[in-house]
């Protein structure tokens, strides 16, 4: 079934992804919190429209503020962005690292329902409040706490994706490690063009060599370069109907249309059936493409969920951009670089830009919107086709959100 009525995204905004790697990041100094980030991204979005009163609803995507920041009730933190939002419908949605994608999906559903013409979507996460070791506890909430956490490793999610990296290497051979190193290199090279990226200040002369560091520090099959960092940040964008867009005073060319949306949740209590495949992501991507009625060769740009370099490779296969087991080969062939046939994550992705978990899905949509409307500045790539696709994953492939956007 195609989208029942046209829905658009416009007026996106992102913040710096703050954390280790940024020069201004001081682990021991006080730093901005949730309120600051929501305000910064939210206000930058509202500044792009004439009348914030036109916003009917708000959705906040956030994963674990209840533990990282001891803050619940994030829906009611939306009104502090702008007085026009006071007394509007506002809620927070959560689906681990796909929380941002769920916030978009929720906003889109509101507009599709006809109850709202314009929805403000904000994704936010502030994770540098505790040491990484304790952050790992909180993030482990994306797995099945009762069934998995106790016997899991200290760094739970690196352990989960390390398992996948091990299985993938067993299947693909040495190309797996090489492609993971290359993924890291490409991500940081892209991030160096993006002043908001956490790796923007990265000056490592030989990124590939760093990516090739023998694994084992973080988890059995991952090195530090394979992992996205601990990040604070937010992203915001407006979801609008055609009438909503008119009311905001935005032209169609300033927006992208959501032509495909899929949201799949798998059973959190069962282990992944195949460690070398992201089955939930694959389903979400193919459902979104089916809804759009498009073939993958009409998509010119991709935002994928590379929380680890191995997840990046597996996302390519989940999208069908590479056959099962061939993701490594495609990366090594240069398919995904910014000048390649299928640019992926030209702003740096999770490894390069950063991964403020609840913000990531929204950040992906903002980056696609910028690229498709030609406002991506220093990270702009030439998008040869009409469509962009984003794939946002929660947990170990347990929630997936895919959006197909048309310029």
């Amino acid at each position: 079934m195609p989208m029942p009525r046209p829905v658009f995204l416009a007026a996106g905004a992102t913040t710096v992804s703050l954390g280790p790697g940024r020069r201004e990041f001081r682990p021991d100094a006080p730093r901005p919190g949730l309120v600051h980030y929501m305000r910064e991204a939210g206000r930058a979005t509202l500044a792009q429209i004439a009348d914030p009163e036109r916003v009917d609803e708000g959705v906040v995507g956030n994963f674990m503020a209840a533990r990282f920041n001891r803050q619940g009730h994030l829906g009611a933190l939306l009104a502090q962005i702008h007085p026009a939002l006071e007394y509007r419908a506002a809620l927070r949605v959560e689906g681990a690292c796909a929380s941002g994608g769920l916030a978009l999906a929720t906003g889109i559903r509101s507009v599709l329902s006809g109850l709202a013409e314009v929805v403000l979507v904000v994704g936010v996460e502030v994770q540098n409040t505790v040491k990484a070791l304790y952050g790992a506890d909180y993030l482990a909430g994306a797995g099945w706490y009762e069934g998995e956490r106790k016997e899991g490793p200290a760094f739970f999610f690196p352990g989960r994706f390390s398992r996948r990296a091990g299985a993938y290497a067993a299947r693909v051979g040495p190309a797996a490690r090489e492609a993971m190193a290359r993924w890291y290199q490409i991500a940081v090279e892209n991030a160096r063009l993006n002043p908001e990226a956490q790796e923007y200040h990265n000056t490592v002369p030989d990124l590939l060599a760093l990516g090739r560091t023998p694994p084992g520090g973080v988890a059995e099959y991952l090195n530090l370069a394979d992992c996205s960092k601990v990040s604070d940040g937010a992203a915001a964008i407006l979801v609008a109907s055609a009438a909503g867009l008119d009311g905001l005073g935005l032209a169609r060319r300033e927006a992208v249309e959501v032509v495909g949306l899929a949201h799949c949740a798998a059973d959190l209590t069962t282990p992944p059936p195949d460690l070398t495949e992201l089955g939930t992501c694959r389903r979400a991507a193919s459902q979104a493409m089916a809804m759009a009625g498009l073939a993958m060769d009409t998509v010119g740009l991709f935002e994928v969920h590379d929380c680890f370099t191995i997840s990046g490779l597996l996302c390519l296969e989940a999208l069908g951009l590479a056959a099962p087991g061939a993701g490594a080969e495609r990366v090594l062939a240069g398919d995904t670089v910014r000048t390649g046939p299928r640019p992926v994550n030209p702003g740096g992705g999770l490894v390069g830009y950063g991964h403020p978990t609840g913000a990531t899905g929204v950040r992906m949509a903002v980056d696609l919107w910028r690229q498709l409307t030609g406002r991506a500045g220093g990270v702009q790539v030439e998008v040869a086709k009409e469509h962009g696709l984003m794939l946002n994953m929660g947990g170990d492939d347990k929630t997936a959100v895919a959006l197909v956007l048309k310029r």
């Binding site: 070791l133 304790y134 506890d137 956490r149 490793p153």
Partner: protein
Amino acid sequence: MDLTDRLEHVAVVGAAGKMGRGIAQLLALELTWRALEHPDRSFVLDLIDADDAALQALVRFLHQQAAPAAEKQIHRLRRLYRDRPDLVDNEDMVRAFGLELLFRLRPGRTLALARDARLVFEAAFEREATKTAIYTELAGLCGPDTWFLSNTSSLPIQAMSEACGLRGRMLGFHFYNPPAVQKLVELIRPRDADPELVRLADALARALGKQTVASADIAGFIGNGHFVRDGLFAIRTLERLAPRFGFVPALHLVEQVSRDWLVRPMGCFQLMDFVGLDVVQQILRVMAGHLGPELHSDLLDRMLERGVRGGQAGDGSPRPGFQTYRQGRPAGIFDPDTGEYAALDAPWARAAEAQLGPAPEAHAWKALRQAPDCAAQLARHWKRLRQPQGLGDTLAREHFLASRQIGLDLVAQGVAASAEAVNQVLTLGFFHLYGPISDALE
């Protein structure tokens, strides 16, 4: 009794002092890990000191050390807590470890706490009478199985153990400051030491992650044997230069040379201040009593008579000694004529520095320590000192050769078994980048 048996009951005497606190930290952590590994056994650490407030501060400090230590070994901790269903998150386990550490501690003001201890660490003030009184009382309290490790940095162990009725049951186990960080332990094995005790001390040092260097049981051992003679050399150089430059500028010159020209982490006067002038005086007295009256400094005595004693305040910040300090660097120098400190950010200091001639080309200690070409830079520096270009070079050359001779004498007198032992103590315990016994200036 193996090491774990011994560690079931340990006491630290002088636990709230500068060294005792660090030793207590190492032991509290070690006992806590052993308690987790042997849940069916009990491990007790007696913390004995004279002052309740200091003991409470110590318990608080030890509890604060638990989390970082547990975090560093989180994989081990998760393994040890495998059978505790109530502990799931890393955070749960790190907290539990902190409590487990607190459960080990038994603070108190009486030596009687140590009655059943199997191992007693003594880190009392470096004064013979103080230590002897403590050991004599402990000898009456403890059973014949109790062994004693003294953190003395200068007192001969054989004589002390005999005087207190603990012959054969005592070793010197000399940590460097701060004990939790410094890798070196000087191990002093008196003539009559029980060989089992020596084996235990070796095993314990390994368990605590320390590297031992054996020293003969001669007052001052290797570390202080070098340190106080090197300090006296600096004081005598100061006294020699003072008539020509004035006391304050002369001290500044010697400090500059002994730090930057000799590429050490601190100059001689900063190091003496860091140790505490009262402690240095005590070490000198002990050594002079055993080795001869030339181990003495009138200047040091005069400073202490005027209440200038260096060391650290309660919060760890340096107290004024020969110099005052700001952010770890000298900021002023004591002027005996006025009793005031002359600030170093003044023209007189620049004028004094100009007397030294060209500054060393090698990086300062801190940068050189991490420089990949450290050895090459040092070699170039020594080459220059072989043909001195100015007063700084000349003074450095004299000091280098004096320090070398002190090291050679320690070997000749049998304090150190080899030049290597001296060099190890200076590089591990004093963070020098090179051993003093070298032919670099030959």
